[in-house]
Symmetry: C2
Subunit: 461 residues, 2 copies
């Protein structure tokens, strides 16, 4: 791309009317039709997977009394600088300050406690698609860093630690199906260092995508909460032997805004967005090409036949029979990332064919109408989009043996280096980037040369 | 029903785990799996209808700066006593107080103004499924009167008044499809008296259901906003002649909580809920009936055949092969309102049949497996549920000629009386109930006997 990534990204969001960031509260985004349609595909897909796995769809309240939010000490310490507080209703002060949920653990778990008496009441697995609120003081960026975050959050309580761990594996699989399956976005799964885990969790697993500018974008997290919250909120049950036990918990969520940002950025090209077919609300655009009035009738009739074919295969389509020149139409629909364009002119009608143009490769092919199988084309396109993204992703994974190497590669992607785990050696590393994860593998610290652990680093959004 | 309606209603909500009202903020409800599943059927159905009509799915911010909320004078006067205010973020006061949206006109319309330059930018038609916040001081009731309201709100801007009126007709049709079609709940469409219209609207049309205790429940409203908001928020455009014009607007919304309340209440009976089949997430429950171990194998195999049949017809089902006695299972699934129960015992296997038990009528019929067509059964059930509710509704529509008659009938449903439109005669009427609508038809005031208009009255939730 000739433009700078940041410029291109902002142009995509506004020209494709995905979102509008001109609303009069900083960091609060307006999701427009084109953006919301893609997010709805994602959220319905995820909700279906979670519900197949036994999660109940729920909706818990937005407002959390200060007394509840404060109960888990690490948790409130992690969020207190970012919480929005409701202090008045109408002209009167409220009895207790009410927080806008920054996440829903402290809202949900008192209810979990009410629902849990014996082992037979477990597991509890719920999810909700909703917004959370964090007055993040870093620079806001549309979809990437906002103060109103649109996500799906899952929360559980199990009778045993093993079931909680099993659940983390299941959710890892489901999130991978969403992110790398449906959205075709490759990610690295990283267990965050202790200082970067979710406040109140035992540990946090994150899904990191790599953006075209080499920075990583955390698109989802899964937290093993152990018994921290169940202890505080008294989620306890009688086991089969009649002994009181505390539940084991997990919570997790992907951000739909960030997922949309990664889909736009990772697959896009100089012509605009490239949407994986299952995410596109318009999967095919039909463009009648008529230069002579005499051809109009037969092309229009033929377009109707093409439409019938698409309908019967369950493909969502649009016919663009507006007054613009074909070139202008191509430009517009390529910008929007519509997976295939079907051109229909008089010669196509004669051949009983359509010209199929793929958005991902630009390939043009004349296909007999009876042989047209766009579902098959889409499957191939999805694989191609995914593997192209994967190749690019793999080429952005580096190893560095010196600080200079680290610095050079950090702008391109994720870099593995070694670190002795001492604070004084962390400082020069963290001046250059962020530690995503500490691995089990050993190595020699690139600062002091002493024995240490391998760590993955990147510049992050 | 032997119980009082209020008791029965609360029992339905809790025993069926639809919602939980024990959350520690008054009026803020927890929507549990069974309730949220029904609401998701409603919201997806409505969203699809709106999007087919050209509405864009959107999500606008929750927080509205005080300056925006205050711009339309009637509007803020109508809401100021109920608005929740965010005054702090983290430890610091926010620059301007931020309201939790009580409804989204003042949030959306500044954006509409940015999007509107010429007539070609219109119409704008958007919708969002979301929550709004009103610190209603009346007694809260689960699903019926809450302070966090789950709804879908639609908002438009048109170039002409005619298009806005046409849109009101379209939305009336769509809401009728949702409420009386999908949910089978009969309603009366009432244009509210001026003193009861939406603050800032020219007029408000409301959809009133009648609950078993004779009180009406407003489940949806449509507002003709005229040019009140477009004038204040400067939603203006150049018409074809290049003249600046103000847009014509409408806004509307059904409350999903109230719709759920009406579905539960209007169709339910002494055994529990009766769900219209398209709203049920479990449409059929299969109950294997085995008293002798020797029969177990063949019943289990046969149940698998029944399952295959249901799957291939796109019916959502559950097999209840738990240890409870059949009677206990019948009780449980009837309580939950599952449309049909399929009993499968050894004799059914021999006859290659299943016993089909309809929830709405209790009818039992042995049906050959090859003839089983539940989709057809469901269609018949839906019609029956709808017409039974309609009959009951019609029997609750009264006319009264005296104050005594009015008082007697008001506890049963909607009563038409005549009123001279003077304040002193309104008083004795409003001591007994609420004026839902003033009709064009004339009549003699039942208080003073002078010429007046017919009005519809009810006790309302």
């Amino acid at each position: 791309m000739e433009e700078d990534f940041g410029e291109w990204y902002r142009r995509m969001l506004s020209e494709n009317m995905l979102v509008d960031d001109r609303y009069d509260v900083k960091g609060m985004l307006v999701y427009r039709g084109a953006g919301m349609r893609i997010i709805k595909q994602m959220s319905r897909y995820l909700e279906d997977l979670l519900e197949e796995d036994g999660h109940e769809p729920t909706l818990f309240p937005l407002l959390i009394p200060e007394t509840l939010l404060d109960m888990e000490k690490e948790h409130i310490a992690g969020f207190e600088d970012e919480v929005y507080w409701v202090t008045h209703a109408g002209g009167n002060p409220v009895e207790r300050r009410l927080a806008l949920r920054p996440t829903s653990e402290t809202c949900m778990y008192p209810m979990f406690a009410l629902w849990t008496r014996t082992f037979a009441d477990l597991p509890i697995k719920v999810h909700q698609t909703t917004t959370v609120y964090r007055n993040d003081t870093k620079q806001t960026r549309p979809l990437i860093r906002t103060r109103e975050i649109l996500w799906n959050e899952g929360h559980t309580a199990f009778a045993t630690r093993e079931e909680a761990l099993q659940n983390i594996e299941t959710i890892t699989r489901i999130y991978t199906e969403l992110i790398t399956g449906l959205c075709c976005v490759p990610v690295q799964v990283n267990r965050r260092p202790d200082w970067d885990k979710f406040p109140g969790a035992e540990y946090t697993i994150a899904f990191d995508a790599i953006m075209p500018d080499g920075k990583t974008l955390q698109v989802a997290t899964i937290h093993n909460l152990g018994q921290h919250f169940s202890n505080v909120f008294k989620i306890q049950f009688d086991d089969e032997g009649g002994n009181k036990k505390l539940a084991w918990q997990t919570s997790y969520g992907p951000g739909f805004g960030r997922l949309l940002a990664s889909v736009v950025s990772v697959h896009g090209d100089g012509k605009g967005m490239v949407l994986p077919p299952r995410l596109a609300s318009v999967q095919a655009v039909i463009i009648p090409i008529v230069f002579k009035d005499a051809d109009k009738g037969k092309v229009t009739d033929y377009v109707q036949k093409v439409v019938e074919k698409l309908k019967s295969s369950g493909i969502s389509y649009k016919v663009d029979d507006g007054d613009d020149r074909p070139g202008a139409k191509y430009y517009k629909w390529e910008l929007r990332g519509v997976p295939v364009r079907l051109e229909v002119g008089p010669r196509d009608v004669e051949k009983d064919a359509v010209m199929v143009v793929r958005r991902d490769t630009g390939e043009k092919q004349s296909v007999k109408l009876k042989d047209l199988d766009l579902q098959k084309t889409f499957k191939g396109m999805e694989e191609n989009i995914r593997s192209k993204a994967r190749e690019n992703f793999d080429s952005r994974i580096f190893t560095a043996d010196t600080l200079a190497d680290l610095e050079e590669n950090l702008g391109e992607g994720i870099v593995t280096v070694s670190w002795c785990e001492k604070n004084e050696c962390a400082k020069p590393l963290e001046e250059k980037g962020t530690i995503l994860s500490i691995l089990d593998d050993e190595g020699e610290c690139i600062v002091c040369g002493k024995k240490g652990k391998q760590v993955r680093m990147a510049k992050t959004y």
